[in-house]
């Protein structure tokens, strides 16, 4: 059998040329896709005890939701200045897990990010004279301030933050046990963002 040693060597040189072209092209494509990548708007953290899901809502999404339920323009304008994150928490354990929003810390580069307590929002609605029915609907779309999640329970709602265009993180703590005497759980989500229109 005759072996042609020349051809493989030439083929290899050609191969390297093509390979370097592919690498360049891939690098360009990757750089472009990174630049064009949409900003992330949903996050999930899951462990053996809980599953926490967060979805940032755009001002347009929130306006559409509340407008469809008859909210007046004054309220819609207020809502547009806030950052809404729809949050769902599921207790995967066999024990009660206490969720207290007071133990959730949102932090940006500048320090703590303000979260609006439902009572602050209620006061604001009363200030602008929002009808009781809309105040009620709004309250029910918020996640409770405190809730003892039972095994397999999943509850959720919106968290309302001060609007920012900077990334921020969440450090959330939970306590297990009906009497709040059990294991402390802590989860962290980084690079959260308010959704933009």
């Amino acid at each position: 059998m005759h072996l042609n040693l020349k051809q493989p060597i030439m083929k290899t040189a050609h191969y390297f040329q093509i390979q370097s072209m592919i690498v360049c092209l891939a690098t360009l494509l990757m750089a472009e896709s990174v630049l064009a990548a949409p900003i992330r708007s949903n996050w999930v953290v899951e462990n053996e005890y809980i599953k926490l899901e967060m979805i940032a809502r755009t001002p347009e999404q929130m306006a559409a939701f509340y407008e469809a339920r008859g909210f007046p323009k004054t309220a819609i304008r207020e809502l547009g200045q806030m950052c809404f994150i729809t949050t769902s928490l599921k207790n995967k354990s066999r024990d009660v897990i206490w969720m207290k929003l007071a133990n959730w810390k949102f932090t940006g580069k500048q320090g703590p990010l303000k979260r609006f307590h439902r009572n602050e929002l209620k006061a604001r609605w009363q200030q602008i004279g929002l009808a009781q029915q809309y105040q009620s609907t709004f309250r029910w779309t918020l996640i409770p301030e405190v809730l003892d999640y039972r095994p397999d329970e999943r509850e959720g709602g919106n968290i309302v933050l001060q609007r920012t265009d900077q990334p921020f993180s969440l450090q959330a703590q939970f306590i297990m046990g009906a009497e709040q005497d059990g294991k402390r759980l802590s989860v962290k989500i980084g690079d959260l963002r308010c959704a933009q229109d």
């Binding site: 009781q132 809309y134 029910w140 409770p144």
Partner: protein, 177 residues
């Protein structure tokens, strides 16, 4: 001695039977047993503008369900409530639905599509719902014939499934004894 043994046997029988009747039923998934507490008053208009007062159903088990058409789990659950209503027809269970702070149009157009045979009370300002303090929406309470809240369902449930229908029938049977 014979008399004493007979007396003890009867006493034991009464005790055992009594504790079986008083024992809480085993609950299907997502139904929590609560410490009995009086159900708040509930007096609201329904979709036909008739006033309904929960106290008229005193002496019967009541299924009290809070919902809103914008709530995803409520929308998923409602068809199963419609089927449960059909399956519980002829029973003494009082089924009461309360819409939370929506317009009559919103309630009517939603129910017409998914549960046309169901009438709902309209808590137009949401204040009656506040009295009941549900954990979230949807929420279902089971109120005993004496007017005490005894069970709460966590989130949406497939009410037309056997486990739940059997449980509701068992509640009714327990109160019939």
């Amino acid at each position: 001695m014979k008399r004493l043994t007979k007396f003890i046997n009867i006493a034991l029988l009464v005790f055992v039977t009594g504790s079986i009747w008083a024992a809480p039923l085993s609950t299907p998934k997502g139904i929590l047993v609560l410490q009995p507490r009086p159900a708040p008053a509930l007096k609201l208009k329904d979709m036909d503008d008739n006033v309904y007062d929960l106290s008229v159903a005193q002496g019967r088990w009541k299924f009290v369900h809070f919902w809103a058409s914008w709530c995803g789990p409520c929308r998923e659950e409602m068809p199963s409530i419609q089927r449960m209503v059909e399956r519980m027809q002829g029973s003494s269970l009082e089924i009461v639905l309360i819409n939370v702070a929506e317009s009559e149009d919103a309630v009517f157009s939603f129910l017409a599509g998914v549960a046309p045979d169901i009438n709902s009370l309209l808590d137009t300002d949401g204040l009656a719902t506040e009295q009941w303090k549900p954990r979230g929406l949807p929420s279902t309470y089971l109120v005993d014939p004496q007017g005490n809240i005894r069970y709460v369902a966590i989130g949406g449930r497939a009410w037309d499934k056997k486990d739940y229908i059997d449980f509701l029938h068992a509640l009714l049977a327990q109160s019939d004894k």
